[in-house]
């Protein structure tokens, strides 16, 4: 005997009568429920051709239940309801009033949207609820404290609304009539939208205040949740939304879409602002990630102060990127702005700016502009690169008819394959925010094959076609956090150059058939090293040579034609060393070396060998040669050149002619000659 007698006594005295009471009420309600198909036909007949229903259930306790109701209106709006429950107050019936307490519609399917979707919210909310009250068959129907609920309302928006970002939506919502006001609360489940792999969830609560509606909303997708509140202004007229929402900081590791870019740490906060009229909504979103790190194979890419400000125009399906900013590896501040059209197959118009920060800060920036269409494994369009040069100059590189594809190397490494049909290189001088084009170079095509592992990029093959020859390059680049290194071996093959201007380190203009090898490397300070040889070479306006020509009073050597040239150089931002700049032509043979520092101070030695016949073209030299009674066919001079690149000074270091003249001429005449040469030089220089 586990139970005491008193317990059993209590059970029989209280619980059993209660149980019997429930059973009898339930049985009565089931037994008193009347199902009628005839009544359903009758109601369908009375309601007219727009409403049809199959069965009606009547219970004095549960109220009315209509099954398989279909409604069509004159504007083509067509929907069906699985079950409509209608509950009323039995007590109020004795007073001759039908007080509707609940109307629940389950399994609502919209078959055809028709034209009625252009309705005013005033049709549903914010109305005087007394207008809902009706008289029917002498019976007052009252909706004073009614809840009208729609459950499982399935809408296929993609079928009804062109370019809708939301495809399918299942909505549950209730309209509550209380205190003469109508409010609405509900949820939208299984929101399937383009770009979302899983359905989302949306809950809302609308409360009317005059003509406006207060809105509370919550949006959930996977582990993310956005809470928002705001107002729908002037529901009866020109309706406008003003809703702000925010998210709690979410760990970036939650983001499934970031699995492709494995994020090691960090969290994101999101703010949004939904504005505009219902047909032209604008969503502005701001996203902040204080700090994060992305694992790239063996490397880590650190991003700080990530700030994204976007606005999405629903009507035009355009994302305007106000800015996407981030500090990368504490070395660069990257900023992106522009717009993305057609989100499903994005058309990009983006401007990306990269500025060194911290220890690397140099007060200049690089920029890349993208214009074109992005597709599953690449990009098609055009790209413009802008990078700064010395002394207020900048270089632009336009890659037109560009195709970028993802590729896999033989070692199964990821990479990119890039090709461009037209390339334009522009050198510009920036003066007081005015751009002056110094020169343009056109190339015929580019082909680039790269692979990458983490932050290391291998240039497997780079070929630039143009000027009847080609430039090919191979090498690697490594954007390590501590140091950025690159090493490129560039080969020039038979480039038939025409009127190419060289502005750095010393100005000159060149024509000719150039071949050679150049190595560009950066390891603790960048440098470009190389050896170039040229046939049928023409050199004009070469500044040090111009000075020497002025010094000699020989304009003929200002232009070197049909020369063979060898250049061996080592260029770096700190100091550019031209170890060898030699050429041989009919009029002049030159062996020289120069170095130019950061402030463009040039130091160099030039050894010249000139035919005596050529020197006699200068009046001064003709006279001097006769004074010195010089008979050698070739005269040699060693000249030292020094000074700022645009105002060079020259000193004759070695010359047998000068030595002979020193012996034969008085100091006064020597000074006079020097003065004459300087005056001649000044007049030529001007």
């Amino acid at each position: 005997m586990f139970l005491k007698r008193s317990v059993l006594k209590d059970f029989f005295r209280f619980f059993l009568p209660l149980l019997l009471c429930f059973v009898s009420v339930y049985s009565l309600s089931r037994l008193s429920t009347v199902c009628s198909i005839k009544a359903a036909d009758l109601i369908s007949h009375i309601a007219g051709p727009n409403i049809s229903l199959k069965r009606v259930f009547f219970s004095p306790i549960h109220g009315l239940r209509f099954e398989e109701v279909r409604v069509r209106d004159a504007l083509g709006f067509d929907f069906s309801v699985g079950t409509v429950f209608l509950k009323y107050s039995v007590r109020e019936l004795w007073s001759g009033r039908l007080m509707v307490k609940n109307i629940v519609m389950e399994d609502v399917k919209v078959h055809h949207w028709g034209d009625t979707r252009q309705f005013s919210l005033n049709d549903i909310l914010g109305t005087d609820t007394k207008r809902l009250d009706k008289m029917w068959g002498g019976l007052d129907i009252i909706f004073t404290e009614t809840a009208v609920c729609f459950k499982k309302v399935r809408l296929n928006l993609a079928q009804h609304i062109a370019q809708s970002p939301i495809q399918d939506i299942t909505v549950d919502f209730c309209l509550d009539v209380y205190g003469g006001k109508l409010s609405c609360r509900g949820t939208a489940r299984e929101v399937k939208a383009h770009g979302l792999s899983k359905p989302g969830y949306f809950a809302f609560h609308l409360d009317p205040v005059g003509k406006d509606l207060l809105v509370d909303m919550s949006l959930e997708y996977e582990v993310y949740r956005l809470d928002g509140s705001g107002m729908i202004n002037d529901c009866s007229g020109r309706t406008a939304l003003d809703i702000r929402f925010h998210s709690e900081p979410i760990p970036l590791s939650y983001y499934a879409w970031l699995k492709a870019v494995p994020t090691k740490e960090g969290q994101v906060s999101l703010w949004g602002h939904l504005t505009g009229v219902p047909n032209d909504l604008n969503l502005q979103a701001e996203l902040m990630i204080p700090s994060t790190a992305i694992a790239l194979e063996q490397d880590t890419l650190e991003l700080d102060h990530v700030a994204v400000l976007l606005s999405y125009r629903l009507k035009d399906n355009v994302i305007d990127i106000e800015h996407i900013m981030a500090n990368v590896d504490d070395h660069f501040a990257v900023s992106i702005s522009g717009k993305i059209e057609e989100i499903l197959s994005p058309i990009l118009d983006l401007h990306c700016q990269i500025q060194p920060i911290g220890q690397d800060a140099k007060g200049y920036s690089w920029a890349v502009d993208f214009k074109g269409q992005s597709f599953a494994d690449g990009f098609q369009g055009e790209v413009k690169f802008i990078w700064p040069g010395a002394e207020s100059r900048q270089y632009l590189c336009f890659l037109k008819e560009l195709m970028v594809h993802k590729r896999k190397s033989k070692m199964n490494q990821n990479g990119l394959s890039v090709s461009a049909q037209k390339i334009e290189l522009v050198e510009q001088m920036m003066q007081a925010n005015q751009e002056q084009i110094l020169q343009k170079i056109f190339l015929d095509g580019l082909s680039l094959e790269t692979t990458f592992l983490g932050k290391k990029i291998w240039v497997d093959q780079l070929i630039l076609q143009g000027y009847g020859g080609r430039v090919s390059a191979k090498g690697d680049l490594y954007f390590n956090r501590k140091e950025r290194e690159y090493n490129l071996n560039i080969r020039l093959d038979q480039l038939d150059l025409k009127n190419i201007k060289v502005f750095y380190p010393v100005y000159c203009e060149i024509n000719g058939n150039v071949s050679g090898q150049v190595t560009a490397s950066h390891h603790k300070g960048g440098q470009v090293k190389g050896v170039l040889t040229a046939e049928q070479f023409q050199l004009v306006h070469f500044n040090p040579l111009d000075k020497i020509a002025e010094f000699l009073g020989l304009n003929a050597i200002k232009e070197i034609n049909n020369a063979q040239i060898v250049v061996d150089f080592d260029l770096s931002p700190q100091e550019s060393i031209i170890e060898q700049f030699d050429f041989d032509s009919e009029s002049l043979a030159m062996r020289s070396n120069f170095n130019v520092n950061q402030k463009r101070w040039l130091e160099g030695f030039v050894a010249l060998s000139m035919p005596r016949a050529k020197l006699t073209e200068s009046k001064i030299f003709k006279r001097l040669l006769s004074i010195a009674r010089e008979r050698e066919e070739k005269l040699d001079f060693l000249v030292r050149v020094s000074g700022y690149a645009d105002s060079l000074r020259t000193e004759l270091i070695e010359s047998t002619l000068r030595d002979t003249l020193k012996e034969r001429l008085s100091v006064r005449i020597q000074k006079y000659i020097e003065e004459r040469i300087n005056k001649a030089m000044e007049s030529q220089g001007n």
Partner: protein, 173 residues
């Protein structure tokens, strides 16, 4: 009371320190210009002003302008000296005084640690193309109205400026 005393002491020490530092720096520049000869004539500046009004030829006016700038430098009025020198180098006449004015402006900019001006002026000073054929350097002499003698030696890679026989400044790469 004690706090007030400490505060007042601190203010006094601060004022004294600042004055001492200012005096020290002012002295530095004065030392660099010490070779400007002292002419014991209280009416020197007035004489120069009168001479400026009397001068008709641009070259003469140029010499007076430079002498006025020199006078400001002598009395260590760097502000007026800088303005006078800047005005002088903007005049139409370009001669040795233009180079000397640039040299003084360079010294003032160097004293004020204005690196951009220093670099610009150095380039201006070297904006003098020439050829050395027989000699190792080109020499130019000048005596100002205040009696200062300048000697400028242009080498191929440097410029040496002497004032009254002492090195005023040397410019190189």
């Amino acid at each position: 009371m004690k706090r007030t005393k400490v505060f007042l002491s601190f203010v006094m020490i601060l004022c004294f320190g600042m004055t001492a530092v200012a005096a020290l720096f002012a002295g530095d520049l004065k030392i660099s210009f010490k070779s400007v000869p002292k002419i014991d004539d209280s009416f020197e500046f007035l004489q120069l002003r009168t001479k400026l009004q009397e001068s008709r030829k641009p070259a003469e006016k140029n010499n007076v302008h430079f002498a006025i700038a020199e006078y400001y430098l002598k009395v260590n009025d760097l502000h007026d000296a800088q303005a006078a020198l800047a005005q002088h180098i903007n005049s139409e006449v370009v001669d040795i005084t233009t180079l000397l004015a640039n040299v003084y402006l360079y010294k003032i900019a160097n004293y004020r640690h204005d690196q951009a001006q220093v670099d610009r002026l150095k380039k201006e000073i070297f904006d003098n193309k020439f050829v050395l054929l027989f000699e190792k350097f080109k020499q130019i002499n000048y005596t100002s109205l205040l009696g200062n003698t300048y000697e400028v030696r242009h080498f191929v890679d440097r410029i040496e400026v002497f004032l009254n026989g002492d090195v005023l400044e040397t410019f190189g790469s």
